[in-house]
Amino acid sequence: MSERDVERALERLLFEQSGMSRRRFLGRSGAAALGLTALGSALAGCSIEGEAANQVNAKKQVTVNHPKASMAGLTWANWPLYIDKKTLKAFNRQHGVKVKYVEEINDNFEFFGKVRQQLATGRPIGRDIVTLTDYMAARWVRDGYCEPLDKKNIPNIKNLVSNLKSINYDPNRTYTLPWQSGGTGIGYNPKKTGRRLESVNDLFDPAFKGRVTMLQEPYDSACLVLLGMGVDASTAKIDEILKAIDKIQQAKDAGQIRRFTGNDYTTDLAKGNVWVSVAYSGDLVQLQADNPDLEFIYPKEGAMLFTDNMMMPKHAAHLYGAETLMNYYYEPEVAAKVAAYVNYISPVAGAKEVLLKTDPEIANNPLIFPPDDVRARLHAYPALTPAEERQMQSAMAQVTGA
């Protein structure tokens, strides 16, 4: 039988013998589809849950008790290249587990966008530790998206450096524990620029037209530009931030700024496509290994200080395990290994002392352990209301074209 015949036979079987014409058959499935569409619209009628529903007052003292439990399946979401994996292996050996370490956070907002629906509807997100930057950590704390820490399981919390013991969105560190801090300043290639830079406003030097990148994140870029305008970014009002975004817009329109990037500015900078970047201190230490010409400066007007925080998402399955892991990373010896590898600013007191013995070059690197005069110039992110934050984000999105 040829293909055609099979088709014919099938058609006869389907339509003629059942007494149903092809037209009627199609009509019926049309009706079925319509019914389902109606069902679908009922579905769409549900609203999308907001974040404000379970807001939490972070100032309130909370005591929780997380008894010893199995750590099998402990999962940690972190940024790429943000840990010395040997330390993780040592932890695995020590506790006979295998921590699932996922380098999946490339952008705070993108990650939040991914897990937001589950958090808003009160479902677990399958990660026990997430590592988020201050402004995003603030949002999670405020919205009640994280579990309070049982500090009995984290005795090493005593090693937390004093200037981070309290932060505006989590004054008692009830929910968050710093992972690493870093400075947002300027990374550049003196060979290309032909001169040393020292000011934020060098970003706008017409000699570098088309050779400048900025970070997409307004908390970084706009706040840094704001410092260059002589405004203290940590107490800045939304109007001032919008002015800084305006300034960035003009620079973009003039062709001064080549791209707005996430962490990927590093490729362009190392390759020499870009000469000047708004950059993170730790990235530059790592890039210098590939391209020794590169330099990082904390501009004379100041730089932004960010901290990435470990936190346990609401309904996380392995609270005890997460806390044990946090405790492990607050041992000065372990923290020193991480600092030596990631080259960011360690929040663990005693790490520098360990490194002075093992790796004095790193211990004396001002990018990793900034001296006091630099520390005085580091500014925390401004505290914005959710509405203001949205205003800032969408103003910046207009500039970056997305």
């Binding site: 389907l14 007494g19 679908g40 579905l43 907002f109 939040f112 509405a387």
Partner: protein, 290 residues
């Protein structure tokens, strides 16, 4: 157990056959589509949530705010599709008619890039078009680029990226339709004193139309929604509508605008396809689908 008559069973049979496919379409296509249509009519903000208000204004604002990116997407995707056609037609023609025993090898070469991730392929273009790279230097030597000219982070780079990434989508349908052509028809044309160009114009090309049609659709539609090339090879001045939708969904969490933009893009493309189908003749639309 319920015993159904033969007749009832026969009448249920077609639904049984359709079942899996229909279920798939409903669960993964119809429901999400309707759901997103609902989302596009919601109002609110990420803080307080979004509720369905039948707010059609989102569409008009979306169009007026992002018309540049829409037009840019269509322009870039259009140019890339035409370039792909120009590159892929001779390629497919060669593979189908002249490659001989190299045919399978050449087809493999066309498909080979698919073995590497899309993002990775695009990132490698960052290296190729590097400011200090070979390509830029040679272009500067011949004078196409000025001394401080660049390729990376320009419109050229984005269109080149799209053209490269979607080339197999054009080449394969073209190859299939060219391969299918009965050679005797071309022989008959020359028997009837048609020159080689006339035979090509009157026989090969019309018979290859379904392939051209399918290839252009397969290239143009995904290229319109692409955001990888613009993000990796371009600047905000090259951002396409896909970049806007991506950032609205994931970064700004403005779901209604993102959904509205997606629907506008979808309906725009649908209208475009129908016009295109009319121009080429609807027959080739169904042929291309087979």
């Amino acid at each position: 157990m319920l015993r159904l008559s033969l007749k009832t069973r026969r009448s249920l049979l077609p639904y049984l056959f359709l079942g899996p496919g229909l279920l798939w379409l409903i669960v993964f296509y119809a429901i999400p589509l309707v759901n997103q249509a609902g989302v596009s009519l919601m109002t609110g903000n990420p803080e307080d949530g979004y509720t369905l208000q039948w707010h059609f204004g989102t569409y008009t604002t979306a169009i007026s705010d992002y018309s540049t990116q829409f037009l840019r997407s269509i322009l870039y995707a259009g140019i890339a599709t035409i370039l792909d056609l120009i590159i892929a037609f001779p390629l497919a023609y060669f593979i189908a008619y002249k490659a001989g025993r190299w045919k399978n090898f050449m087809l493999l070469m066309v498909v080979l890039p698919f073995f590497v991730s899309y993002v990775l392929r695009t990132v490698s273009w960052q290296l190729i078009l590097n400011d200090n790279g070979w390509v830029v230097h040679r272009f500067q030597d011949i004078g196409i680029l000025g001394a401080d000219g660049r390729l990376l982070a320009t419109t050229t780079a984005v269109i080149a990226g799209i053209t490269y990434n979607f080339l197999p989508f054009m080449a394969l349908p073209l190859y299939v339709s060219l391969e299918k052509i009965d050679r005797r028809l071309i022989e008959a044309a020359s028997d009837l004193y048609a020159s080689r160009t006339t035979a090509f114009r009157k026989v090969t090309l019309p018979l290859a139309l379904p392939g051209i049609f399918a290839g252009s659709l397969l290239t143009f539609i995904p290229a319109c929604g692409d955001f990888i090339n613009a993000a990796l090879l371009g600047t905000p001045n090259q951002y396409m509508i896909g970049n806007v939708i991506q950032s609205k969904f994931l970064n700004i969490l403005d779901y209604p605008t993102a959904a509205a933009l997606s629907f506008i893009l979808m309906s725009g493309i649908l209208v475009g396809i129908f016009i295109y189908a009319r121009v080429l003749g609807t027959k080739s639309l169904t042929e291309a689908a087979v």
